[in-house]
Point group: D2
Chain length 326, copies 4
Amino acid sequence: MKKLNKIGVLTSGGDAPGMNAAIRAVVRKCFYEKIEIVGVVKGYQGLIDDNIRLLDPSSVSGILKEGGTILKSARSKDFRTKEGRGKAYINILKHGIDALIVIGGDGTFTGANIFGEEFNIPVVGIPGTIDNDLYGTDLTIGYDTALNTVVEAVDKIRDTATAHSRLFFIEVMGRDAGFIALSAGVASGAEVVLLPEKPTSYDELKGFLEKQYSYQKESSIVLVAEGENMGSTLDIANRVNEEHPEYDARVTILGHLQRGGSPTVVDRILASELGVAAVDALLEGQNSIMVGMVKDEIEYVPFIKAIKNKKNVNSRLLNLISVLSG
Amino acid sequence: MKKLNKIGVLTSGGDAPGMNAAIRAVVRKCFYEKIEIVGVVKGYQGLIDDNIRLLDPSSVSGILKEGGTILKSARSKDFRTKEGRGKAYINILKHGIDALIVIGGDGTFTGANIFGEEFNIPVVGIPGTIDNDLYGTDLTIGYDTALNTVVEAVDKIRDTATAHSRLFFIEVMGRDAGFIALSAGVASGAEVVLLPEKPTSYDELKGFLEKQYSYQKESSIVLVAEGENMGSTLDIANRVNEEHPEYDARVTILGHLQRGGSPTVVDRILASELGVAAVDALLEGQNSIMVGMVKDEIEYVPFIKAIKNKKNVNSRLLNLISVLSG
Amino acid sequence: MKKLNKIGVLTSGGDAPGMNAAIRAVVRKCFYEKIEIVGVVKGYQGLIDDNIRLLDPSSVSGILKEGGTILKSARSKDFRTKEGRGKAYINILKHGIDALIVIGGDGTFTGANIFGEEFNIPVVGIPGTIDNDLYGTDLTIGYDTALNTVVEAVDKIRDTATAHSRLFFIEVMGRDAGFIALSAGVASGAEVVLLPEKPTSYDELKGFLEKQYSYQKESSIVLVAEGENMGSTLDIANRVNEEHPEYDARVTILGHLQRGGSPTVVDRILASELGVAAVDALLEGQNSIMVGMVKDEIEYVPFIKAIKNKKNVNSRLLNLISVLSG
Amino acid sequence: MKKLNKIGVLTSGGDAPGMNAAIRAVVRKCFYEKIEIVGVVKGYQGLIDDNIRLLDPSSVSGILKEGGTILKSARSKDFRTKEGRGKAYINILKHGIDALIVIGGDGTFTGANIFGEEFNIPVVGIPGTIDNDLYGTDLTIGYDTALNTVVEAVDKIRDTATAHSRLFFIEVMGRDAGFIALSAGVASGAEVVLLPEKPTSYDELKGFLEKQYSYQKESSIVLVAEGENMGSTLDIANRVNEEHPEYDARVTILGHLQRGGSPTVVDRILASELGVAAVDALLEGQNSIMVGMVKDEIEYVPFIKAIKNKKNVNSRLLNLISVLSG
């Protein structure tokens, strides 16, 4: 077992519900292992600006259920420069930090990978992003909560859609990946999902909506991932409304609503497990890896793999939509 | 007490959570009073299209907690014509309907008022709209639920706003009235509210945001009613971002999310009370009135008053925002 | 206007959701009025133990939406003795506190009344209790949240009750008053409510349940206030099960669940209004009064009246239960 | 592929959120495969009583989000007798039912296994129980929803526990298994969990509580599975209170609250997947098996295995509690 005196932890990139649960687990595990733990405020920028404070079990009391991140997050331009990272390293030396735990997504791990190699400091990543688009872990922290937030919202919109027999286009997060749209689509009984991973032509969409309309469906919901291929959600809806004013289609863009809220049980447990696992990984001498959960086992995935590889959406779910929305 | 054999009930205009609770109360009260009750599907259009079905206590079993309206709602162009209303009246005669209860807002009561006078049929209205902009009742059915939906959404957005020390503009419903924006603003601790009732200049807004920023507020929320004076929410945010890119302002438009969901206790009780009161009003021989709740007493308000007069927002709450958001 | 340099605020008795919102309003209003504000931790006992700390706007940042009370609450035996109150007063002198704001119920105001008279210090009360059993205010802080918590729980139990066509007895808080049971009963469509204010005999209950059963009701819910007349909820259910094993009656006691949770919009606004009003009352030179909300106006009610008088449950709601549950 | 003309579906045993989502998936998949589908009302008793009705896509419209089961559930004594099962089989012949899908737990599959063998009718099971105690599937339908219900309740109780620095014992479902207590314990930050799978002595518990108390923990939560070894939750709390009145320990028994509510995303997707998989299994000629989800793959598990084998709680989670609650 490696000897560690002090670990630093930070959250970076888009925040996700459950990040606080992960911070709490890291802090309590360090307390349990008698390792000092400091929190870096505002991500990598906080390393550069020396925005660092001591954490102890009482600092994380009551945060398990809170959305957001007590360490705040930010995207740092400075950290993309060698100079910026140099300043960050000076602060790491100053505080006597032996190793870093970074909670975030793709961009966070890219930075961690460069930094770790440059200065030979052990860094372990915890996957925290609502998008679930990280290779090497079945689930990312925040994804299950975001899904439940989306589905509760769709359930509410369904109430009013049904009251007026209307068509709704609902845009959810996912610039590069359709995980949220697909899973929320199955869970909310969406009639159609539009994903980056499975291009749909306008004519296919139109044909489908016409079939639905002819069945006198009480309401129809099209769940749209930001990154799908057909242009903006508003444009699609406008085009549909021009050709079929009788559908009276409306648009809702759920936006940042999806990032907040008290984490679900799945996210709290995942965050607790991965927080503890990240400290264990450092104690085992691991470096430049992400701790992931794969088929309910903890796995170590090199940053380089987590960043480079593409995680695929579940094809069983794609199939479910067409069977169940008929 | 007037002898009534059969009452018809319908929902019209934008749907609101609690409409089902009102329908249930009307149906059960009629059952209690041994009056037959029929539901008109899709509002006034359903009267014209003879889309009418018998209701009994089992038809409304389990709907107390459901959003939307089992009778569906619609806006009817035909009902604005004399011909359309004539067809509606023929169906009323055909079904032997002695009186109508209409659940909705402004537009619903305008139609009811004309129809009732034209054909001398007693009509009583129940205020159901999330906007709360009806004179003659302190609360409309759906308003409290919409407020709670908005505040839960703002709470979630606050999580992510605080994590990134960001400014958010959140647009809520209210084309003519700022009730939702104002009350939700107080309840969510919004730093600013923009309302149709209290025009704010861009410079005032800017000055306020600059003051907030200089205080290093962890996050700021501006709650915007659709109908405020300064142009679209997106435009305001863009202008702010151009002048102050460091605010990194974001926009969320809550949209139809606000119409759905299981009604709150306040809305369920209000709807139950007003549903029973509407039947009582008909039994007392009332006509062309809305049943309202004023200072916790049931009042009858002539349609003409409810439509013509403007309800003011609570000035105490306006004052609260400036005291509490400092 | 009275000159005040420093106000103390405390929460006492059973905690209620929205107490934090009231503390926040008191603190921010004091900041706005340039009055120093200190928080007394753990109620009157904290006064005796000198558990007092300075508050400022940042101390109350983010607490608007939190259940519980950041000042903690406790019941104090020592404060019932003259000696205890004397120690409390010494600490008040020591800190230079000019006036006190106490948030709580019956017992809290009884203590405040004695203490204020004994030592001639202005005390203003804010009604905070989920039970709503305080004369002089239509609503107490926490009541609306507790009602929504109860109704959400009853909705869930209704799911399983209906799945098994079962009878459930659900006990809610209310040792002396049936406000929660009555309002939650209307809002959840309970078939029967048992209240201290309206004694029901076992035979009435039995007759009613037999009628319900003969109608083949899908499920029945009896909502029981702790303080009703017929003995413990468990005993009633057991007696019913002995005589009618076919009802397969079950019991759920909601307990302390009812005290927690994020406050609703009604409670957040009420707490914000009353918090500001309490400071205003002190500035106006008021003393030994509770600030209440009566028919949407703020009123000052002498402690002695708030304590001695009994608030009645709404008779319209009692009537509603019998009309709607038929 | 086996030719099937008509399938029957039923829910049996304790109801669980997501059963409706499973019914919907079975019905829509049958519609998709052009197989007739009938619903048996009230479980096996409905088979005996010929309480059977045709289902089609419109029968399951809107039920995806509803708790409970539209087919109702019941425990049937008659079905335990050969005579009862004989009557059931006669009704199966009468309706021309080729195969059965049964949704439930242990007891449901025991009955299915006997019935299928006795009368040579294909039966496939779907695991639906909040307890998660079925071998052969990582998750059962309803478990994730129950966990979230429990954790929301514990979060609320934590508010009031912290306000009063109190100790709470909270009893959750689980007569034979501690899945709910353990996972909810990790997710709610419970200080102790008491499980049937890991006997705790009273002295261990007492020692732990004393340590917590000496640390001046703001509050402590002990999560108790019904089936733990130390006697009733009430008795444990009483004993603790006798020895340590200063803990002021309280008890809440969550009870049937845990069975209801709108299913979470995890449960809706699981139910949708397993519903479709059950029909697929019958089409493949499977018989006397349960469809389970194991490491995100659908597996067929013979009833006999699912019933006889014991699923173990996750030892990683047991370890987490001791690391994180310290």
